[in-house]
Symmetry: C2
Subunit: 281 residues, 2 copies
DNA sequence: TCGTTGTGTCCGATATACTGGACAGCAATC
DNA sequence: GATTGCTGTCCAGTATATCGGACACAACGA
């Protein structure tokens, strides 16, 4: 099936680097992504530059999205995500109770231990922090929620990749992913080995990877097929005593296990509860 | 300025009721709205019917959105909102701390009083429940978060409309908005009068409106211009004693006041704080 | 006063995105 | 094994969405 020869014009443009005509829908996707990267309201002029789109098109698209409530206009006429997108996000949460429970657990662990805690998943094969709660320590926030981070930089990434085969892992890695923030470069085989080790041990600890002053401890959250669908992790200072690290690790593993779906156990399927919600009215 | 004569084809189509060609971007907007209304993952075939879009277009659009992470495909190949939309929703929350604080306050009030509590705002002139926390009583949930409800049905709606002039209010009302769920029809003037009264009193209580067995108590949340930007409200059983209602009302008014921006007080403008966020790195 | 910069609208031309319909595969039902 | 219904892909034609560029306006500073 040779279906991937000429992708929807956008791909072609990206490959050629030329500024040709683009689909409105692609523009929308890029525009939203740009807003997310930027992280704050943007003037439309600036937005044109961010997405490299012509002004007339951008104005038109923004108007449409604002009308739909997907974007909102600030008093100074800059735009950002709107309430409608927030509602859609809540819909996502409602449908995925693993994420909801993960968020609650992260909040609880951060509160009870005082450490920075995160809930992580793969988004289209890429490691992302889904939820984070800062600890009591005034920490340098390494990353915002929802931004992609190369999996090799993190303990969670190793666990999340552990379901894939060696070749799949290699395919998932993007250029530069193995270049650590601290400057040194990780070998592919070395990374794959650490992924395998994480799988074996049922947890993962990295030290000084994303920055030199932190450990990263992570435990897997598994679905009914024993696949790693998410992780829960702590980010702690490098000088944390070994005993406390072991203790935190055990806490994480326990939480990860609690969040995991207990295997079907051959009993009644009853996989999804909450299904008869709207039955009342 | 006669700029609203021929809207982007979608409008025209809607007016004509004819199934002509449609912009991809409009299809996206409609598709997302349909998913939200539906509230659960949908098979693509069903989705085509929901948005009345041709199958080929729908497949193409869904594929694009899935690739972008805005939608996700369930194992049974139905689609629903994806993690990316969730991230965008979190971005919205981060940028609007009023909403964040409102959510927290709603959770607190619901926990402390045991009553069902809501945080409401206008979305493009339409009343919407932004956040809700059910009380201890097993209540019939009147509405899902993020769905539009006619303002005249609610106490919050009256407060949220109280900044508008009489004509503006009439313009905002859509046909059927004045037809109460209990069957009786409210007069426009009657509604406007109740809006004015709500403004005067600084709170609003309706009884048996959205359904015959509840009171609705609401208090305004105001911005620095004294405009009502949101409301916080309780939904309580009709047989709640008057004394407790008064007490709950006072609680709400206090919460509403706490959530409101205290007026600029003629001192240094400093209208928007949190603007120098990214100054640190 | 005059240039500069940024915002927002409008319009004609054309590259192309959207559509309808055909087609194939699969599963369940008759 | 024929029928029905659903999923998913592919393709050519044409209605039209996108783009570039012009225009008006306001704010600002030299």
């Amino acid at each position: 099936m040779l279906k991937s020869q000429e992708r929807t014009n956008g791909q072609r443009r990206a490959a050629a680097g030329q500024g040709t005509r683009e689909r409105g829908i692609d523009r929308v996707v890029q525009l939203l992504a740009a807003l997310h990267r930027h992280g704050r309201p943007v003037r439309i002029g600036e937005l044109c530059a961010l997405v490299e789109a012509p002004r007339s098109s951008t104005y038109e698209i923004v108007r449409t999205l604002v009308d739909a409530g997907l974007l909102e206009t600030s008093p100074d006429s800059s735009v950002f995500f709107g309430k409608t997108l927030y509602f859609y996000g809540m819909d996502y949460l409602r449908e995925h109770d693993l994420v909801s429970r993960g968020r609650d657990e992260v909040d609880r662990l951060a509160r009870e231990t005082g450490e920075t805690c995160q809930f992580c998943m793969l988004t289209r094969g890429q490691y992302t922090v889904v939820h984070m709660r800062a600890g009591v320590r005034p920490f340098r926030i390494s990353s915002e929620v929802g931004t992609r981070i190369p999996a090799p930089w993190t303990a969670s990434g190793r666990l999340l990749y552990s379901d894939f085969g060696d070749d799949e892992i290699r395919a998932l890695l993007k250029p530069g992913d193995l270049d650590m923030p601290n400057g040194q470069r990780l070998g592919v085989d070395e990374f794959v080995a650490s992924v395998r080790q994480a799988r074996e041990e049922g947890f993962c600890i990295t030290s000084g990877l994303v920055d030199a002053y932190t450990h990263c401890l992570a435990a897997p959250i598994r679905d009914h097929n024993h696949g790693t669908v998410a992780t829960i992790c702590f980010v702690v200072p490098i000088d944390t005593p070994a005993q406390r690290i072991a203790q935190l690790r055990d806490t994480l593993v326990a939480s990860g296990h609690a969040l995991s779906v207990n295997p079907p156990s051959s009993a009644t399927p009853a996989r999804k509860t909450a299904r008869a919600d709207r039955a009342d009215n």
